[in-house]
């Protein structure tokens, strides 16, 4: 580590910072980015490319940097793909280069050089085909991907702030500042986001005057003035996406994820002043470390006092290159040559060119850089006249600075769709046809010249404020003069042979070359969207901001069509990479979603219940006292219910009260069978259909009074069924006298099941209930009181045993439950419930899965009753009666011993590879001593006794099963009715 030479730049302080890169320690200064500090230390190669593993260097000074992506931090807080040009260094920061193994200098895979043909365009599509995939999988997996995903990541909390404003402005360069000032003066509430930590954009280095004073002074004064006008300024904050006036911005102090904040900004109007992205020109080996954007060199000099080279060759197609050259020369860099692709007639910048010439710079018109010479870093530029490209000569240099013009930053305006328009003098696209609340301004709108950008920004600010209803007096637009109009003549790539095209890079991050575009076209991928998918052009962290347009231009060249007609691929959020952790914001862990707990939740937790989520509910799966795992505990609990009895928490069942003069008629329309025929005090098992005839849900409907019902629903279905009922009440039954109320949490439900349930209930509920419990027939209920609180006892069974559902108020649930347990009814969970209901052939979501009609589920008799309910009409569709429709059946192993599991595919001997159905639910039945199941099987193969093969290649392998009736146990239901 050499002694530090203090650099001076707009962002630097004279205070050293130590950090490490690939294990070596470096010194930088406070204010440095990782990229500037490494450049200042003379580090040229900072990583390898994703496919060809070519050494790469820093190319840009912005967020669109394609190469300088680092893995930051030490385990467990490791973050890959952090953009070095946006990352502020700090003491102790640990950086590692990416895409190299075992080290940056010696990469095992760098034999896969461009031109070797191994990784051509469409490589993945051609190689990832069985069986060759097996050959390549191991190699490819070790190489694939940008950076390396951390196994675990302990990132800190993310602050989430919601903002609301009249005008949101993205970008605080000249146009954004002018827009913010105008909108705020008009009276609008303004939020101004700036991706960089400081405002001013190009004015950080561009010499110019605004309203008669130096541009930099105007920036300082305006930034100081904005807060007094009520503008909320968010520096270091990137707008990453949004829609319809709610934009999402993301701030990472120092560019380092993990210590960041998300802003959700609701705005009435949106001004996009995100500037323009300088684009390169493709030439042979234009990816070598030392080839950099011209504007990046200027930024590194002005901001960080970094000279990116000692001897430069500039390669450009516009006049602004000469102004920049003057500033680089003033900064102490020698400019050997300016290679300009334009003809003498197209070039301006006369006095500047003469001045550079006098200082010893060769100004070559009608020339191009054909190739970058060198190895790990640039040694020279091979240049030639465009009129005679085969007569090239070498100019020695240690950096080639390229500028092919600027592409307006249209991303934010086009992520929701919308049109764009080609502007010939830019050789690029601007957003067009935007909604009136959204407007582009300044360079983002194609206004590259300072005066025009300021005027455009000012006008956009006025327009946005007025859209938001603020129309106060704003004063005049700033008057300015800066760098001259660029007079750009589009130029995309230098002449090259077919072999040379393999090393003309257009998308550095994805290693896409001109040859890839040619190949893509030759193989029929002619559209820009095809090209993107086939070559990966425009994917990655820079989202094609650097190379996307060049790719389109090269495609246009090969297609022989204007670039305007070829267009560029669709833009999508996020604009800049954001960690998933940031997007999750506060919604992590327990805060991810609300939890619903039954009144008995604490009792379950205190008594060894293993809880399982069901929708938002948590329900006991089994109790640890009954077994070490769900299988053994479930069997023990189920066995006990059949021999003596047990209690289960049924509080998660949805309960919807439907009342009013039209309640019965309304429910008749909601269910496959009629509710109006239920007598008061009785209940009925009923199913709902969807509009298309599929079974939606099932449950028991209780008639409390002539005009008052309670409909129970499946545990996860309560809210959905509530909406379903409300929808029909408000559409087809609008005007009917029906009220629909969710009473799910107004009643706890305890199921007491088993041969001893009646006598236990008599003991617990007392003399008041003695006769009622004896009198109640199946599906009948009685209401009364228990311990001073309301109680409904419904005799119904989901286990096949004599059973009662006790609906009590939540406050008395624990008392009642504990009394039942004390009286000898031990609790059982879902695992046992599942065994009991499969033994009886009762249905759950595995069978009522949204794809089964009532006939599929064996409810033909209910359909034949002819009640005209929602969905009934479509049950007559011929397709629902074909032999291939499924039919619910029971399954047992032919040998009475084999195991088969839910999900196993069922086949017939004639077609061993084409399933005719699958097992929906399977359990080991302790009562029957064997595995049993339910299945949906094509009707033509569903006859009793049919032998099928249950295929389960990933778990149990094959077993031979036979179709049996769905009710495995007690088919006459004598126990339930006892």
């Amino acid at each position: 580590m050499s002694a530090i030479v203090i650099r001076r730049g707009t962002r630097l302080r004279e205070q050293p910072v130590r950090f490490t890169f690939d294990g070596r320690e470096y010194l930088g200064q406070v204010g440095d980015s990782a990229a500037s500090a490494l450049l200042a230390a003379g580090v040229r190669a900072i990583g390898r490319s994703i496919k060809y593993r070519r050494l790469r260097g820093v190319v840009t000074a912005g967020a669109e940097e394609p190469n300088a992506l680092f893995t930051v931090g030490t385990a467990p807080a490791v973050i890959p793909n952090v953009v070095a040009s946006q990352l502020a260094i700090a003491d102790g920061l640990v950086l590692r280069s990416q895409n190299r193994w075992p080290s940056l200098k010696y990469d095992a895979a760098s034999v896969l050089q461009a031109g070797s043909g191994f990784f051509g365009a469409g490589f993945y599509y051609k190689t990832f085909i069985w069986p060759s995939w097996r050959t390549y999988e191991k190699l490819i997996r070790s190489l694939a991907g940008l950076g390396e995903a951390p196994g675990s990541c302990a990132l800190g909390p993310v602050a989430v702030e919601h903002l609301s404003c009249d005008v949101l402005i993205a970008g605080a360069g000249a146009a954004g500042l002018a827009a913010a000032r105008a909108a705020a003066r008009a009276g609008a509430r303004v939020v101004l986001c700036e991706r960089e930590p400081v405002c001013g954009g190009e004015l950080e280095f561009e010499a110019g005057t605004i309203d008669g004073r130096p541009a930099a002074d105007w920036v300082t004064a305006t930034v100081a003035q904005l807060p007094t006008l009520g503008v909320r300024l968010l520096p270091g904050t990137t707008l990453v996406g949004g829609s319809g006036g709610e934009m999402i911005a993301h701030t990472e102090p120092g560019g380092l994820p993990g210590t960041n904040a998300i802003f959700k900004i609701r705005t009435r109007a949106f001004v996009i002043a995100m500037g323009a992205v300088e684009r390169p020109i493709a030439f042979i080996d234009n990816d070598r470390p030392g080839v950099m954007l011209l504007g990046a060199a200027e930024r590194y000099l002005a901001r960080y006092g970094v000279r990116v080279g000692a001897e430069l060759v500039l390669f450009a197609n516009h006049d602004r290159a000469y102004a920049t050259a003057g500033r680089l020369a003033a900064g102490g860099m020698r400019i050997s040559a300016i290679v300009d692709t334009r003809t003498a007639a197209e070039v301006g910048a006369e006095p500047l060119r003469a001045q550079l010439g006098r200082a010893g710079t060769e100004c070559l018109l009608g020339h191009a850089v054909l190739a970058a010479e060198g190895g790990a870093t640039v040694h020279g530029a091979r240049i030639a006249s465009l009129a005679a490209p085969d007569r090239a000569r070498l100019i020695r240099c240690d950096a080639i600075l390229v500028s092919g013009g600027w592409s307006p930053a249209v991303h934010a305006g086009l992520q929701e769709g919308g049109a764009r328009r080609f502007v010939a003098e830019l050789g690029g696209f601007i957003a067009a046809g935007q909604p009136d609340w959204r407007t582009s301004a300044g360079a983002a709108n194609g206004r590259l010249e300072l005066g025009a950008a300021l005027a455009d920004g000012h006008a956009a600010g006025v327009r946005a404020a007025s859209h938001a209803g603020a129309a106060g007096s704003v004063g005049a637009a700033p008057l300015a003069s800066g760098d001259a109009v660029p007079r750009l003549v589009p130029f995309w790539r230098s002449p090259a042979s077919l072999a040379g095209e393999k090393r003309q890079f257009i998308d550095l991050q994805n290693d896409v070359t001109v040859a890839d575009v040619r190949q893509s076209l030759a193989e029929g991928f002619v559209d820009i969207e095809h090209l993107k998918r086939y070559t990966a052009l425009g994917f990655g962290s820079d989202q094609g901001r650097l190379g996307g347009l060049i790719g389109a231009a090269v495609l246009a060249e090969f297609r022989g069509e204007p670039l305007a007609d070829v267009g560029t691929s669709r833009l999508r959020p996020p604009f800049h990479p954001v960690t998933m952790r940031s997007l999750a914001g506060l919604r992590v862990g327990a805060a991810l979603r609300p939890a619903r707990r039954t009144p008995l939740h604490d009792w379950h937790a205190a008594h060894g219940a293993v809880l399982e989520p069901m929708g938002l509910w948590l329900r006991p799966r089994y109790y640890r006292a009954n077994g070490a795992d769900s299988f053994t505990a479930g069997i023990a609990e189920a066995k006990r219910v059949r021999t003596t009895g047990g209690v289960a928490d049924g509080s998660t069942l949805g309960k919807i009260e439907v009342a009013g003069p039209d309640a019965a008629a309304f429910l008749d329309a909601m269910y496959l069978t009629k509710a109006s025929t239920i007598r008061v005090g009785r209940s009925k098992y009923m199913v709902n259909l969807r509009e298309d005839g599929m079974v939606l849900d099932d449950g028991i409907v209780l008639r409390l009074a002539a005009e008052r019902f309670i409909a129970t629903t499946g545990s996860g279905h309560g809210l959905h069924m509530l909406s379903h009922f409300e929808h029909y009440r408000d559409t087809q039954w609008s005007g009917s006298a029906v009220t629909i109320t969710d009473v799910t949490e107004a009643w706890a439900a305890i199921v007491a099941a088993g041969p001893k349930s009646r006598e236990t209930l008599r003991a617990v509920l007392g003399a008041d209930w003695h006769d009622a419990l004896g009198r109640l027939t199946h599906m009948e209920f009685a209401t009364g009181r228990y311990a001073g609180s309301e109680l409904t006892v419904l005799r119904a069974s989901f286990s096949g045993e004599l059973a009662f559902e006790l609906h009590c108020r939540p406050a008395s649930a624990v008392t009642l439950w504990e009394a039942l347990v004390a009286a000898g009814l031990e609790p059982y969970g879902l695992e046992a419930l599942d065994i009991l209901r499969v033994e009886k052939g009762y249905l759950v979501g595995s069978e009522i899965n949204g794809q089964t009609t009532p006939e599929d589920l064996g409810m033909d008799a209910l359909v034949r009753l002819g009640n005209l309910c929602v969905g009934r009409e479509l049950l007559d569709r011929p397709a629902f009666h074909e032999a291939s429709r499924p039919r619910l059946v029971g399954l047992r192993a032919v040998d009475g011993r084999g195991r088969f599991l839910a999900g196993a595919q069922l086949t017939i001997p004639a077609a061993p590879n084409r399933p005719v159905g699958y097992a929906t639910s399977t359990v080991y039945s302790p009562t029957l001593g064997e595995w049993i199941g339910l299945a949906l099987v094509a009707r033509e193969h569903s006859a009793d006794g049919t032998v099928l093969t249950a295929r389960d290649p990933l778990r149990d392998g094959d077993s031979v099963v036979r179709v049996v009736p769905t009710v495995h146990f007690d088919p006459a239901s004598e126990r339930m009715k006892s």
């Binding site: 829609s243 319809g244 006036g245 509009e691 809210l719 409300e726 009409e873 479509l874």
Partner: protein, 81 residues
Amino acid sequence: MTRLVCPFCGPRHLREFEFHKTVAAADAGAFARVYERVASTELSVEHWQHVGGCRGWLEVRRNPSTGDVLEIHLVGGGGEA
């Protein structure tokens, strides 16, 4: 389109609402209602419920190409916003 204006509750964030379906013509038969809904790029007539508010069912008419909401009223008429 991140806000809908509920006729009862006023402008509310989209996350308070639940999309249900696009609506077929009123005179469509049962089969057409389910299977023959035509997606238009200009006009989509949809049913939404304000589940995070008044639980009202809303008929939302919007332009799917632009995301512009053209009209919202309670299903079954009334309460135009």
